[in-house]
């Protein structure tokens, strides 16, 4: 049973923004992560503001410059099946298909997928951990088989989103509305590392709403893919994953981005891998060196050391598959 709260279905974006006053007012887009967090008592909530009537925030449109704008309320299922996304940005379509289960893909929205809370079982459980204002990360000395190997400091979650790494790889931008107007934040700076602020996952301020995600036109020679490894054959969060968006000139990689999922508290852009592959053809030898580079500086915890060889292999295989 959920704790009691009042419920407002906003009829306009302005009304939604006006309703977001108190700190324990929560936004509901698809609602699936919100209800899970309320049930787990991750945070309190006295009022839910539903965005479900804001049809302007739903849908995928050509931006007239070769890119697309995806409304934040567009469901993951709609992103996964959209023909333009599949044709221009396979990495995003593949990532969307890898999200959760069919039911949750119908419920969950792209904006919600970027803003979801961590899945760490201490964070979701009855532990007053450092991310919730306590002084300890219980995963550090505890059950940490699904935690991060890169980028941890004081908190060792992995970011749970599949679509976020794909959008970082595509150099997308998040559009955010607040009472003072709108602002735009590159995906690469949307998520916040615990090294910068352990209490927040994104740059969103209280009272702000993600309204859209803009993806620029696919550059010439773009090939992209998302590979995700899970503990189960059916749906699960990533143990290790990699989003690739690379520009090829013939067999040579000219530019691009490599972003890891299941590795770090934020979608983890691996410039180390990019340095190995840019200017090169993706031969087995280059791909193997890239795999090694992906885990450079990795600091596995007691129970997640398996992720080091797993990332080596996932990155190597994903690069070779894209080179085919």
């Amino acid at each position: 049973m959920l704790p009691p709260f009042s419920y407002v279905r906003a009829q306009s974006l302005d009304e939604a923004l006006a309703q977001l006053g108190a700190s324990d007012t929560r936004i509901s887009a698809g609602g699936s992560d919100l209800l899970g967090c309320l049930r787990d008592e991750v945070f309190t909530c006295s009022k839910v503001v539903s965005l479900s009537r804001l049809d302007a925030l739903r849908g995928i449109r050509d931006d007239g410059r070769g890119g697309v704008r995806i409304g934040a309320l567009t469901t993951i299922a709609a992103v996964a099946s959209d023909p333009v996304i599949n044709q221009r940005y396979p990495v995003l379509a593949q990532a969307a298909r890898a999200v959760a289960s069919p039911q949750l893909r119908h419920q969950g929205t792209l904006g919600g997928n970027l803003c979801q809370k961590p899945r760490c079982w201490y964070y979701r459980g009855e532990f007053h951990c450092s991310r919730k204002g306590g002084s300890t990360c219980y995963a550090l000395a505890g059950e940490n088989q699904f935690h991060c190997i890169l980028g941890g400091q004081g908190c060792y979650i992995v970011h749970p989103s599949d679509t976020a790494p794909a959008l970082v790889a595509l150099d997308a931008t998040v559009q955010i509305a607040g009472r003072g107007g709108t602002r735009r934040v590159p995906m690469a700076r949307f998520h916040v590392s615990p090294r910068d602020d352990i209490r927040r996952e994104t740059v969103l301020e209280a009272g702000e709403i993600v309204t859209a995600i803009d993806i620029p036109a696919a550059p010439r020679g773009l090939r992209s893919s998302y590979r995700k490894v899970r503990a189960r054959g059916a749906w699960d969060f990533a143990l290790a994953g990699v989003a690739l968006a690379l520009q090829f000139d013939g067999a040579t990689v000219r530019a691009g981005r490599v972003v890891l999922s299941g590795a770090a508290p934020i979608p983890w852009r691996s410039e180390a891998v990019e340095r190995v592959i840019i200017g090169q053809a993706l031969t087995p030898e280059v791909a193997a060196r890239a795999g090694d580079a992906a885990v450079e500086g990795a600091q596995p915890l007691k129970r997640n050391g398996y992720k080091v060889p797993l990332f080596r292999g996932v990155v190597r295989e994903a690069l070779l598959a894209l080179a085919q």
Binding site: G31, L35, A100, P102, W235
Partner: protein, 178 residues
């Protein structure tokens, strides 16, 4: 310690459940699962993990399978809900119900309503799914006793019958490999 009781006034919504319009009043923090079971007495929809992991509470919301434990009742104002109670027509079972029973695709039966509705959504959209498409569509529903093989076979047989084919279960399906 018991949680405080809800203080908010009940909200009233109208929705269509299994083809019938109805108005229902409930506390604003109730989920669709709770509204169906407690306020509409439709207990065919089962309560599983409440975390979005098991698929047991699946219902169709505007024809799409959703987890009713992660949908607020208030979010369903004006929408169409289909539960397992809406599958049979009078005494005539839906072909999926028939094949699940005939092929032993249910044992304890707790997950069955969720599987049936997810499978119905699949067959409504895709009358001739491949085995892999069935697996992908049912990936969010867990069964801990049957195993999934009989469930896949039951969906395939129901799909054939819904296409009007005079299909019977394979001997191997009923009696195993000889």
């Amino acid at each position: 310690m018991p949680r405080p009781r809800p203080t908010a006034d009940p909200a009233v919504i109208t929705l269509e459940v299994n083809g019938e319009r109805c108005a229902v009043a409930f506390a604003p923090h109730k989920t669709l699962l709770e509204v169906l079971r407690e306020d509409l007495d439709l207990t065919g929809t089962k309560h599983g993990c409440e975390l979005g992991e098991c698929g047991t509470c699946t219902v169709l919301l505007d024809d799409a399978p959703v987890l009713s434990c992660l949908v607020l009742g208030l979010a369903c104002d004006g929408r169409r809900v289909r539960t397992v109670e809406g599958m049979a027509e009078g005494a005539r079972l839906h072909p999926l119900q028939e094949t699940f029973a005939d092929l032993g695709a249910a044992q304890c039966g707790y997950c069955t309503p969720g599987f049936l509705l997810t499978a119905q959504a699949l067959l409504d959209a895709n009358p001739r799914p491949t085995r892999d498409e069935i697996k992908a569509a049912l990936a969010g529903n867990l069964c801990r006793c049957t195993g999934y093989l009989k469930i896949y076979e039951a969906v395939e047989l129901a799909a054939a019958r819904l296409r009007g084919e005079d299909a019977e279960p394979a001997r191997e399906t009923l009696y195993g490999r000889r």
